[in-house]
């Protein structure tokens, strides 16, 4: 055993490995430990137990010699947590394992593992819990902290990832967690395996996909929310930014903006914080008083976490805002129109007599020329169907409403009927070129507005079964426009035809 004595410095890690082992124990009892939910539940149950055991263990005189089986056992527990699994690898290199199973096979066959070892080791583990602070686990910490492992963390992590994926494909976040643990022994304080810890001392740990902070991107990060503040740390192995740690008291946090992509279980969070005090300001922060930190979480069960975090301290709740994924996305692609929020389009059914019942969505609600979209229109968004004018009109309206109200004056959106009316194609194709007749058909359209005052005019065009867009830029400049100004004029009047298919319209 190398560095046997140093082992005792890592009490927190001891505790964690205890927990991991304990967790494993409870997992063994559950036939369904692939299920992340069950896992978490069980884990929470056994946290208290583990802690109690740990305290007991601490009081005893630590035992230095290694019970390999025992150690192996706790490592098995850690196959969830990649780090400990990695240590297991280390262990088997040292030849301490009685059961000579190669690490790889353990990773991949970890589901069978319990069957092999369960019966044998459960007793021993219990023994070690009650009689001595399980030496094997101390050894784990030992080799972890003295890490030859650090040289090859990536491999280990990926090994772990594989096994993780095999076992619980439904919780990719756990992979990240696992990475964290294997990359940084200290992370064990906060992450046990793939379970973000709702710890005894009331913190919520989230393993993050990535963190953007001061123009640097960090991966393998975890965030710890506690009642007093937030702490984010990692050790970046791949980049040269060195380790990254970020800690703010709750009073420093200005706001937390979340965007939640339900479908993919993805969460992006925007954190605005006050810069840290003078001492760290030089090294860590830039001059601006407000900093921004972004991170992303891949976690299908985010909402629970969020609840847990906000329940830590009411202040979180106050600064927390969640934006559901862009409405247009939901709106257009959800046939059921699952909308929530106050400003969402409201279902209204205007045609009770129709042979098939369908729901209308009016957008923008209450407007004089609102577009009403039926289920049938939404169905046109399917592949290999043709979009109709309702969809186009809806989308122009939607875009228009996205423009800031003060900016809105600069733009004018014609509806899809304008071009049809202007060209009025079928009646007399030869009249297409007859500008005056065409003009007379639509000259009343803009009598109420100053069309020359608009910077951009948008005209959706449907011709030959194909949609395209005409953009008229800076129409008002035409009057004063001279060719020689072309070079130094910022506003050049022109007409753009945006067409996804190369070709041209006769109109």
């Amino acid at each position: 055993m190398k560095n046997g004595l140093e082992v005792f410095d890592f009490k927190e890690e001891d505790e964690i490995s205890e927990l991991a082992a304990d967790k494993y124990l409870s997992k063994l009892k559950s036939p369904n430990f692939d299920d992340a939910a069950t896992l978490k539940c069980q884990f929470l149950e056994c946290v208290a137990r583990g802690a109690a055991v740990q305290r007991k263990g601490m009081d005893n005189i630590p035992c230095v010699d290694v019970d390999a089986i025992d150690g192996d056992y706790s490592f098995d527990g850690a196959t969830t947590a990649a780090s400990l699994g990695a240590v297991e690898k280390e262990f088997s290199k040292e030849g301490n394992t009685d059961l000579d199973v190669s690490p790889e096979s353990k990773y991949t066959s970890s589901e069978q593992q319990p069957d092999l070892q369960n019966d044998i080791h459960e007793f021993e583990l219990r023994d070690s819990f009650s009689e001595a602070p399980s030496p094997g686990k101390r050894q784990v910490n030992d080799s972890l902290s003295n890490s030859p492992l650090r040289i090859e963390p990536v491999d280990l992590a990926s090994d772990a990832n594989e096994s993780m994926n095999e076992r619980s494909p439904s919780s990719p976040a756990s992979d990240i967690a696992a990475d964290n643990v294997s990359l940084n022994g200290n992370m064990l304080d906060h992450c046990v395996g793939n379970i973000p810890v709702d710890n005894i001392d009331g913190t919520v740990v989230i393993c993050l996909d990535y963190v953007l902070y001061q123009e640097n991107c960090y991966t393998g990060v975890s965030a710890i929310f506690s009642p007093d503040g937030i702490k984010i740390e990692c050790s970046t192995m791949s980049d040269h930014h060195g380790t990254f740690s970020f800690e703010r008291g709750i009073d420093d946090i200005i706001s937390i903006h979340c965007q939640w992509f339900q479908r993919v279980g993805y969460m992006t969070v925007n954190l605005k914080v006050l810069s840290k005090g003078a001492a760290e300001a030089e090294s860590e922060c830039k001059t601006s008083a407000i900093e921004e930190l972004k991170f992303a979480v891949f976690d299908p069960r985010w909402s629970e976490k969020q609840e847990a975090i906000t329940s830590l301290n009411v202040k979180y709740l106050a600064m927390w805002s969640t934006l559901f994924e862009a409405k247009i996305f939901l709106f257009l692609f959800s046939p059921l129109m699952e909308m929530d929020g106050d400003d969402s389009p409201v279902r209204e059914s205007y045609f009770p007599n129709f042979d098939e019942p369908f729901e209308e969505v009016i957008y923008p609600k209450g407007d004089f020329d609102a577009v009403s979209i039926s289920k049938r229109d939404v169905d046109l968004l399917q592949p290999e169907t043709f979009i109709n004018d309702t969809i186009i009109d809806f989308y122009t309206k939607y875009l228009k409403n996205q423009i800031q109200p003060e900016e809105r004056q600069r733009f004018h959106f014609f509806n899809s009927f304008f071009f049809r009316k202007l060209a009025d194609l079928d009646k007399d194709p030869s009249s297409i070129s007859d500008g005056r007749a065409a003009f007379l058909r639509v000259h009343k359209w803009t009598r109420k507005l100053d069309i020359f005052g608009k910077d951009y005019i948008f005209i959706p065009v449907n011709f030959n079964l194909h949609w395209s867009l005409l953009v008229i830029c800076h129409l008002g400049e035409v009057a004063s426009f001279k060719d020689e100004d072309l070079v130094n004029l910022s506003k050049v009047p022109c007409v753009l035809h945006m067409d996804s298919i190369r070709g041209n319209h006769a109109g």
């Binding site: 205007y350 045609f351 007599n353 129709f354 004089f368 020329d369 609102a370 577009v371 009403s372 039926s374 049938r376 229109d377 004018d389 009109d393 014609f414 509806n415 009927f417 304008f418 049809r420 009316k421 009025d424 194609l425 079928d426 009646k427 639509v442 009343k444 359209w445």
Partner: protein, 95 residues
């Protein structure tokens, strides 16, 4: 456009007679089947009735035609009154 034949349809509420206005239809973008219809309609009857009547006569589905008054699509629940339609106004029909 030669005035061959025009069908005038009257839509009104039997219980409560109101002032009626005449609305012409005008095909835009296809044929001229709408041009032969005009509607004498009570101002407070929702224009939905006009639309439904029209599509039955022409034999198309509701979703395949569009009705515009001036440059705006007509909300079927609105009536002539709330759209400020005047006697002799034209509804554009497109599909």
């Amino acid at each position: 456009m030669d005035m061959t034949k025009t069908v005038q349809i009257t839509l009104y509420n039997q219980e409560k007679e109101e002032k009626r206005i005449l609305l012409k239809l005008n095909s835009v973008g296809y044929g001229d089947e709408a041009d032969q219809y005009c509607y004498s309609i009570s101002q407070r009857i929702p224009l939905r009735d006009l639309m439904l009547d029209f599509i039955k006569r022409v034999g198309v589905t509701f979703n395949s035609v569009r009705f515009y008054y001036e440059d705006k699509p007509i909300n079927p629940a609105f009536n002539a009154k709330c759209l400020n339609m005047k006697d002799g106004d034209t509804i554009a029909v497109s599909r």
